[in-house]
């Protein structure tokens, strides 16, 4: 056995990956300084490692559609507007304090009837092309809106993908009227762009019900809303 073969290939890999204990590492350092063959083997392993890193140094992600466009600047401007409104509101409140006598507050603010507003928001996900499932989603959206306790600011979104996209296709859906009515009640509908792309690749022209938004993918929307602590309901 040649002297450089005292070290197994596993050991040499562990060396370049920093997995050897200090004693073994020191021994290998010393030996590699003496043995050109061993040094060469280590070099080859390091090169393989470096090449893999190089090959995937820059992997651009697919565009994330509208969500990316919001970006930091979007949040910054939103924060700026919110701050302005807060300062404005406080100023108006301060200036108007003399116009409201004690006891009149209840006349203007029925605190008993409208307890502190809470948020309980729902995202419904439709992936089935069965009309019964689509109808169930719309009924559930309506039920969620109507069952919100007084004072609760409830938001409901419906996201459709795969066969469920038919729900939002203007020329296919049997529920255009119901969707329009729900939109008027502030239910927001999202269509999966990925599903639309796939249909268009097959030559199917996709036209959505008016006022339908598009999400990069349905799951993208689900993940975003789950991060916002929304309740997720798969129909």
């Amino acid at each position: 056995m040649k002297k450089d073969e005292y070290f197994s290939e596993e050991q040499l890999n562990a060396f370049v990956d920093g997995e050897l204990d200090p004693e073994e590492r020191s021994q290998l350092y010393n030996e590699s300084a003496q043995l050109a063959e061993l040094d060469l083997r280590l070099c080859q392993l390091r090169k393989a490692k470096e090449l893999v890193r190089y090959g995937y140094e820059d992997v651009p992600q697919p565009s994330r559609g509208a969500r990316t466009k919001i970006g930091r600047r979007g949040y910054f401007s939103t924060a700026l507007v919110a701050t302005f409104l807060l300062v404005f509101g406080l100023s108006v409140g301060f200036l108007a304090r003399n116009y409201m006598v004690e006891g009149q507050a209840d006349k203007y603010f029925d605190t008993a009837a409208h307890p502190a507003a809470t948020t309980s928001n729902y995202l419904l996900h439709v992936a089935s092309g069965e009309p019964a499932q689509m109808l169930a989603a719309l009924q559930e959206a309506r039920h969620l809106l109507e069952s919100a306790p007084a004072g609760e600011l409830r938001q409901v979104e419906v996201v459709a993908n795969e066969r469920g996209l038919d729900l939002l296709r203007a020329d296919v859906t049997p529920f255009a009227t119901e969707i329009t009515a729900l939109q008027a009640s502030n239910v927001v509908f999202y269509a999966c762009s990925r599903t639309m792309e796939r249909l268009e690749e097959k030559g199917v022209e996709v036209q959505l019900v008016p006022n339908t938004n598009s999400a990069h993918t349905a799951l993208d929307r689900v993940v975003t809303r789950m991060k916002d602590d929304w309740e997720y309901i798969k129909i």
């Binding site: 290939e9 596993e10 890999n13 562990a14 990956d17 997995e19 050109a36 063959e37 040094d39 060469l40 070099c43 080859q44 392993l45 390091r46 090169k47 393989a48 490692k49 090449l51 893999v52 890193r53 190089y54 090959g55 995937y56 140094e57 820059d58 992997v59 992600q61 697919p62 990925r194 993918t217 799951l219 993208d220 689900v222 993940v223 789950m226 991060k227 602590d229 309740e231 997720y232």
Partner: protein, 186 residues
């Protein structure tokens, strides 16, 4: 939501931040495993969705990274199980839609490396990329892929050996065994 989580409120916030910040790294890994941008994106979405849905299962925020990559690996397994297919190099070249004539030298090297990694069996590819791209320890890779550390080591050996063969064209060996040049590389 998730009021009975094993993670406290602060940790859950930290977890959500980690999930958001990990998207790019998960995507790079998914791409290295599949070499299909759309599939990689889908896998990352599924991973994030599952991670958020099952965050109650996570007891230690320190283990969250490995846990995310384990979910990604399981999503890929599920994909292959459902599709019952393994992406062939021929299919994947079409996805790239690039020809060597249009590539710069740097891009060509990148493509050569990716083609070489693509030819590896998925098991070797996963070990190599987790170690080389994410810098995971062998123990973390073992935990992520749910395999023994010994298996991690042997897959890594075989994978790197195979890479060297696949990259023979760009693999310029030194002319003599002992040269000062090699030592400068270190």
């Amino acid at each position: 939501m998730a009021s009975n989580s094993f993670l406290g409120f602060t940790q859950r916030r930290a977890f959500k931040k980690l999930v958001s910040n990990s998207r790019g790294r998960l995507y790079r890994m998914a791409f290295a495993w599949t070499h299909d941008p759309h599939l990689a994106d889908d896998l990352v979405q599924q991973t994030l969705y599952k991670a958020l849905r099952n965050q109650r299962q996570l007891k230690d925020i320190g283990a969250a990274e490995a846990w995310l990559f384990r979910i990604l690996s399981n999503c890929l397994k599920d994909y292959h199980r459902v599709k019952r297919e393994v992406l062939s190099p021929e299919e994947l070249v079409i996805v790239d839609q690039k020809t060597p004539e249009h590539e710069s030298g740097e891009q060509q090297l990148v493509n050569n490396v990716r083609n070489a990694v693509r030819k590896l069996p998925l098991a070797q590819c996963q070990v190599i990329t987790l170690v080389d791209l994410e810098g995971f320890t062998y123990a973390t890779v073992a935990e992520t892929l749910e395999i023994p550390v010994g298996t991690v080591m042997s897959r890594l050996c075989r994978g790197r050996r195979a890479l060297r063969e696949f990259l023979a064209d760009v693999w310029v060996e030194p002319q003599s065994g002992r040269t000062a040049t090699l030592k400068r590389v270190k």
